[in-house]
Assembly symmetry: D2
Homo-oligomer: 483 residues x 4
């Protein structure tokens, strides 16, 4: 069976009937029709449809060796630099289509699971069955184009589980029982983005917070369908305020709902368990799989598309307002250009300096690509700040689509026109700028980018610890001083 | 007639029947009942009611010499440092009540018009009638506790009026005719905050953008009731999403609607015209009245209250999450403490170094108080950033009041509790933090604080140009170098 | 015996014959004539002479109750706000004279020892003799106008003494013996600023690094004359490059040598021991004495004088180069003005909010004054950066005094003149700007200001931990949320 | 004649007998023996010697088509990406040897003149003789391995020449006469770095400051030997304080003297004049030659080498002090790593996206390489700040080489040792860190890096104006909004 179309995506979602809670009520109707989800689902369906579009198919799919079917290219395990380039082209295509606003476009999780799959042999150290389970699950996802979400952050009060055992022990998700059919898991995860709009959920442990132990009920890697009994998805407030693309150009399309995922005595079947109980191996599994490098490759493609879109938005605002000759405007735009050129250069360099790992995967250079991860959580909020600084009060005083259809429209047309644009075009642009830089959709985006791969301490430590070259540079200085 | 009560405020608003447009429709019902305005109106009514509350009355009012009535203390022209202290106590009382979230609490415009009134003699240079008009209007406002909004920013495409006369001339607001009854004004103003929820509007020119001319149809100072024929208020999108104080702790109370004000052949009666046609005098009037210093005194009180509230919010978050021992947390909070202590010290110093001006007003030290204006547009966004950095993903995954009343509540109670608080309390706190730091109400607040008194170039020039002491410091260095 | 004159200062220094090492050689001649020290000594002598100058004497001295003599006002224990104001006037007078470039002008240590003296009763908890010793020593210093340095930072490799006892134990300064005459101390201290140009040295423990113990050989407070046997002062590189005030306007006057102080079996007489062995009391002694608040009061006076001088330098540069109309120049200067106004406001507020402590001292408000300590280590380097940014390459290409006396002078006079100054005046100014912002004297100043009161973590923790008001602000938010 | 050796470099310098002024005296002896120059000359000689070293020769030279001799590779006009790679390898080799501390290593000017040479045909528009002169001069430089300096900044008071003609006219360098032998130039240039230690000087106009005119005595491009009559080099203060590599590890080797160059009626022979009088062409010549891109390629190589060295220095300090586990330390080092990875990625990307220009040169991507130029003036000072923050007071208290040879040495050995190094090694390292981050050599370096390619406004405008892609990004947004 080949890649999925948009229509199939919608059908499977509605058929799923998973347990979703929204504003204190269980969602009973179709996910694809609910105001909070329909915009995103429609948009995501069009991503899947691109795979079926002759204009894009060659770049978006490859022929599965297992079945001869065309499958999504983000499932491809890269073994050469050319594979990396193919993956990048695929990911840029989708990212350019969603302009980087989907943090969880399907290639993200496809890449994650590909990374884990490529390291599945490592699991044999614990039990060959685990390795086998993961390989089969990966093939299942690839051949059925499964839409996945994932979960790994535990509720905050439980992150000190090893420090305050007494207090927190009952909060952290853990295996409360196991039997011949599988392990029984109880607990909660913050926050499965697109949990509602995916088919299955992949769960793996946070690498950095737990102490190495050989046997822990808190350590597991598994995947389950979203409609398994005992599984509940609790939505946060929806940021969708309407379907109008004029009034809500971003949230009407790109609002990826975050969910609190509850596991209440969920039985995870053994064939869906990929690792259980061995913290040290779980840790090595995440690190050695090249997970961070592979996923950061996808992330970098997304961030470049997003930065291009934001730069375009700002340049358009500047054009509309005739501000391009002010030195302070140029300095601010130059900052964004420097950021964009940095990201693009890093993408090139990460591929050029890629290395084959012990599993045969061609892994983008960690030195470079993890540096990009440190950069973006500060670059993105700065771009947002620049939009605010250049937009000023014009961002605030923006009427709606209906105003332009009313008797009051002539006044708007007269008084809100730009230097080089009519009022409606200008207002449309500034509504976009508002949503990015001051609306609640934009607020969530900023938080999301700040913490995508952890807080500053985590991402800098990840870069610092794995950094290749340190010793060479120290030797340079020692040699200089001896010399 | 004395100060106004909340009830009187509501009655007058509903009686006004001014021309208000909201989402493409004229507002026909009562302002005080409309979802977009009712929260703010109720809250503001309670501010007026405080004047009638024995616990506060002495601090909030003074006896009018004209009538013997108690009138609002923010109308008091300060003539001594003690008067300044009284004014400060009054303004802190209201600011502490609205926690600094009202940028246009009534004392703001009361203070503005008091500043202009105190310099009314200057207008006699042009025509003694203007001076007289302003004095009478001020007394009218003070004795009737009139709620004012104001307007002075012109639509952006028209700010180059003197540069591109041909293109823009028909955009800038101007006097299109005059007759025995008054001047006829056509044009638009961005953006009268609280235009809808005020009784009258005060219009004065932007000081910095126009070239000195002695006779200009673009230069005028006047005030009119909001329901004058030809006057229209067009609302931006409302940021009120509901009445629930749990879900929307800030926007349900403090959302001050901004409006585009249209003057379409509005006849402004002569007795409401305070200056017309003389740019140079208009400029001197704004500068020499001490307007910026007096209003900044009010502003500083507001900003201190807001900063205290934000610091409390952050400390509460830190308490709830048990993070107070991390050095990076302490460093971030220390930044806010330094900011708060700075504002408080400046308030003290500005009063202590106040000077009597030529009109007999005791004016807070400009050196200090205009420095505070430069500081806050950078301090406020940094505080917001710190909330984001300390809140992290906990800011995103916040359920609503209804979730806590539903069958799903037990899960929330279990998994979302804090280190020292139950889940509901913690979620309530984090909804507040969300609204400030990532929701659209907060987005507008950030824009508002960034540009309250103009862009960076304007506010730094205002400080730079009026700075006393420059020559002394240069002499110090010259003296040192001479040896 | 009353305050000291400059001449007495010089005589006592030369008579001292302490063991000073400079560039691998013991200094054998007079300190007051050595290139590395003579500039500073002459300048400091003039500070002492001001006490004898009728124009300043009233502000710089007060009548000792013990002797009826006039003694230095920085020895005055403040008991009223008026005392604080007197102290401030005294400290500003000296600071304005040295333009804030002396980090260790004598009032600094006079204030330190006054703070400790005022809390001497606390030492009676351990032994009344300690309290008595400190009182007598303080009186001795006050009545003889003793010039003190102090030492408390231990060499870096030993700061983990409690962690790596095995490795470091022999590095930390400690009492190696005690007998009827006193305690015998061996160890080293980084870095006694002005160690060479002081008469005595006061030693107290670093508050933050040691664990509470009741009996530790590492804990002591004492003072000794600089020429005690076994005491050695090792100088760092001198930053004095010549006596020319044209070429080296700052280093020729203000270079305060830092020294590594070696205690090699130094016998400290019992009457000079103020505390020994009790870590917890040592900790309380430093905290409860108000040491940080009193010393920060002096520091703030110094920092204001320095900031005024730097602002004057920059405004002079701007005047000379005709740059005052560029918005980016104004923004940068406005930053410094905001900083200066902040410091000045904090000085006023810290005195106005001062409180009497349990020892009867009037202590400046810690909330405010410790905030100023957090501010300056970031403000100062930013000012230096602004000098670099505004000075640009003009800072680099600066000839020397001799060039202006040579045949090449006409070219300099022609080509290096400023917009409003001749070449020699401009070069003189830019040599000053160079020394502050790029020369080695300035480099040491920047390091000094960054770390004056500890690293960022220490100074923010000091502010955070003692901050009054936290609970009130949290309550505000709780009250708001309850509704 | 082939490339030059170190010995030849020294010989030619001493033979030159150019007019050099140092501290008010003409330099009469050999440049190569003067304390202010000998360190740099020796070091630079060793760069030339590398060309004669079989280990490096292949990478540092190529065979001249004109003579069949081996000549310096930085003279190679790149026509393919492979040529760019060769040039980069050459430039990295030298940069790694001088660790980026030579801003004017010979490849810098070789690259500049190569860029101009490659566009020499453009000069034919004015006069074919100019084009011919430049070609011949370039060949002369290449075949004789001439060491060049250059000058283009005019004294600051003259930069407004077109605005304030009356005042400044006599200050700006200009052609005061012309005759059959050449043009006669009078004026001054700030600041020819390595003017003293070069053989010839290349002069071209500042691109950005002059108004387009077709005939201007202020516009010229020419080159002359340093010993032409009427040419004088006035040195700034020397930053060399001694020859000891222990005490002054950087300034003893890398101090590149800056000079004020005086032209007093200098006759420039016609065959050395490449352009005269035509401002518009001069402007196009600099822009269209790809000068900025080619030189930035060299600059980027230098900046990478420098950043690697600084990173090594910091990591070595961290190793020595055992600080690598502190989060704030890791965050700071991660910042530098991100900066380094950015520069390295940009170097790769600039070559990969290089394009052939109309003169047949392969030009590195301006989008990327001019972005690197905007980045470094902020990255470098931040690295310096990090050295200060991590070094703290340990940077200040550093003894000298002689101290370690004296009787006081045992104390130093005991008390100044590091966690993993002996005292002498640690002090050596910290003297290096001092010189970079606080000494006057480092101060000049910071100024140099901040302004290498102009102030912020210039370098951001250069990037902004030439940025390719702007329209594409705006179209993206327009398409999205229409969509």
């Amino acid at each position: 069976m080949p890649f999925k179309t948009g229509e199939q995506y919608r059908e499977r979602l509605d058929r799923l009937q998973h347990n979703v809670w929204f504003r204190g009520e269980p969602v009973t109707g179709n996910i694809t029709e609910h105001l909070a989800f329909r915009g995103l689902v429609s948009f995501q369906a069009s991503l899947y449809d691109m795979q079926n579009d002759k204009a894009y198919q060659e770049k978006l799919t490859f022929t599965s060796e297992a079945t001869g079917d065309l499958v999504g290219l983000s499932f491809l395990q890269p073994k050469t630099k050319k594979d990396l380039a193919k993956r990048r082209e695929m990911m840029r295509l989708w990212a350019d289509y969603h302009h980087g606003f989907l943090g969880r476009s399907p290639d993200y999780m496809n890449t994650s699971i590909m990374a884990f799959y490529s390291a599945s042999d490592l699991l044999s150290e614990l039990d060959p069955q685990y390795s086998d389970n993961l390989k089969k699950y990966f093939e299942y996802c690839r051949e059925h184009d499964i839409t996945l979400s994932h979960a790994f952050i535990q509720p905050q009060a439980s992150r000190y589980v090893n420090i305050n055992d007494g207090v927190e022990e009952n909060l952290a998700a853990k295996v409360v029982d196991q039997n011949k059919d599988g392990i029984v898991v109880t607990g909660a995860f913050l926050m499965a983005t697109q949990g509602v709009t995916a088919e299955e959920i992949f769960v793996f442990p946070p690498v950095s917070t737990l102490l190495p132990e050989t046997d822990s009920p808190y350590t597991f890697v598994f995947a389950v369908p979203n409609n398994l009994p005992g599984l509940k998805f609790i939505c946060r407030e929806s940021l969708v305020q309407g379907d109008s693309a004029f009034d809500f150009p971003l949230s009407s399309k790109y609002e990826e709902m975050d969910t609190l995922v509850i596991f209440d005595q969920v039985l995870v079947p053994w064939d869906r368990v990929f690792l259980y109980g061995h913290e040290d191996l779980a840790h090595r599994f995440v690190i050695e799989s090249g997970f961070h490098a592979h996923v950061s490759h996808q992330l970098l493609c997304k961030n470049i598309a997003k930065t291009e879109f934001l730069l375009g938005t700002i340049e358009y605002m500047v054009e509309t307002s005739g501000m391009s000759n002010y030195p302070h405007v140029r300095e601010k735009i130059a900052e964004i250009i420097v950021g964009l050129e940095t990201l693009k250069s890093m993408l090139i360099a990460a591929e050029m300096n890629a290395k084959i790992d012990k599993f045969g995967s061609m892994v983008p250079s960690k030195n470079t690509i993890l540096a990009a991860n440190v950069l973006y959580p500060e670059l993105y909020p700065r771009i947002i700040e620049i939009i605010q600084l250049l937009g000023g009060s014009s961002l605030v005083m923006i009427p709606s689509e209906k105003d332009f259809e009313s008797d009051i429209a002539p006044y708007l047309n007269k008084y809100l026109k730009g230097m080089q644009s009519d009022a409606k075009e200008k207002v449309k642009l500034f509504r976009l700028a508002w949503e990015i830089s001051a609306g609640s959709f934009g607020g969530r985006e900023t938080l999301y980018e700040r913490f995508f791969f952890g807080n500053k301490s985590s991402i800098t430590s990840r870069l610092y610890e794995g950094y290749m070259g340190r010793e060479k540079y120290i030797q340079k200085v020692k040699h200089f001083l001896q010399g």
